[in-house]
């Protein structure tokens, strides 16, 4: 397996949607390729960081204001 072939299947590996045979091929490539190992680990970390950090926080006061405005208009029948 080449690095390009590995990268093409990177998402499937990360999202755990590969067959057992495919997983074995990917693992075999990883054993001998530091480049792809780093790519896999840091891509996983990228997703984890974006999942676990709120970058567009909705402050409570704004949230309450928006919520009240929406519900007031819904109760009036929009």
């Amino acid at each position: 397996m080449t690095c390009t072939e590995f990268i093409a299947l990177l998402d499937d590996l990360i999202d755990d949607s590969v067959t057992e045979t495919m997983r074995a091929d990917l693992q075999a490539h990883l054993k001998g390729c530091e480049h792809c190992e780093v790519t896999l680990n840091t891509t996983r970390k990228t997703i984890e960081i974006y999942r676990s950090h709120e970058i567009y926080d909705l402050p409570t006061d704004l949230r309450e204001r928006l919520h009240a405005a929406i519900m007031a208009r819904c109760k009036r029948g929009c």
């Binding site: 690095c3 390009t4 990268i7 093409a8 990177l10 998402d11 990360i14 999202d15 755990d16 530091e34 480049h35 780093v38 790519t39 680990n41 840091t42 891509t43 970390k45 990228t46 997703i47 960081i49 974006y50 999942r51 950090h53 709120e54 970058i55 567009y56 909705l58 704004l62 949230r63 928006l66 919520h67 405005a69 929406i70 519900m71 208009r73 819904c74 109760k75 929009c78």
Partner: protein, 219 residues
């Protein structure tokens, strides 16, 4: 394992369905519950697309009002959340069009079609690299980095990886094919990874005597 979960899931009614039925029967308080449940997510998605706080605030209001008005059109065969997200994406794109008058704005904008390539930057990251930054510094880095992605990649990454929609739901929400979502997701993940490497890569100790002149930063 995922198969067992999905089979069990098919037999259970999603709690949102009962809430939607109550709203349809005239119980506005049930809609209050739905708005509370999803207003943060809708705000985040709107921010990802419009990249403008005022627009995002407007989108939150418009999307929930439109969903309320159109609730009769909601088919129980899709999740209320993905149906709502589709409305929010459309409202966000409309806002962008208003700002950029005369320019077409779509999910296809600025998207290259070539497949993901092998990343250039080989540098490994420090263990727990985010701990080298304060929460606000980190949030700024993450915002700046994702804002630099082409819109078509950014939206796919936001829906699929940040908001947790499935590939199929993301495709349905954006009106894209499943292969198109997969291709964009791979490129989005790789581009974000490469851009974050600037901040997160392991600092290497200078070998030997080290450079006589300190390397310029920001090159």
């Amino acid at each position: 394992m995922s198969t067992i979960q999905s089979i069990a899931g098919e037999n259970e009614q999603h709690p949102d369905v009962a809430l939607v039925e109550r709203v349809r029967a005239g119980d506005v308080s049930a809609y209050d519950t739905l708005v509370r449940k999803y207003e943060r997510q809708v705000f985040r998605i709107a921010q990802h697309i419009t990249q403008n706080r005022e627009d995002a605030e407007d989108v939150v209001q418009d999307a929930f009002l439109k969903a309320y008005e159109k609730l009769d059109q909601f088919q129980g065969n899709s999740k209320f959340y993905t149906w709502l997200v589709r409305i929010a994406v459309n409202e966000s794109l409309m806002r962008l069009r208003k700002r950029r008058t005369g320019r077409m704005v779509s999910i296809d904008e600025d998207v290259e079609t070539e497949e993901g390539s092998v990343p250039r930057d080989l540098a490994d990251w420090a263990p727990d690299p985010e701990q080298n930054y304060t929460q606000s510094e980190l949030a700024e880095i993450l915002r700046k980095t994702i804002q630099g992605l082409p819109q078509g990649f950014r939206v796919v990454f936001a829906l699929r990886d940040v908001e947790g929609l499935s590939t199929e739901e993301t495709a349905e929400t954006l009106g894209l094919s499943v292969p198109a979502v997969k291709s964009r997701l791979l490129r989005a993940r790789l581009q974000l990874r490469e851009r974050l490497s600037r901040y997160f890569k392991r600092k290497t100790a200078p070998a030997g005597n080290g450079p006589a002149i300190a390397p310029q930063t920001g090159s």
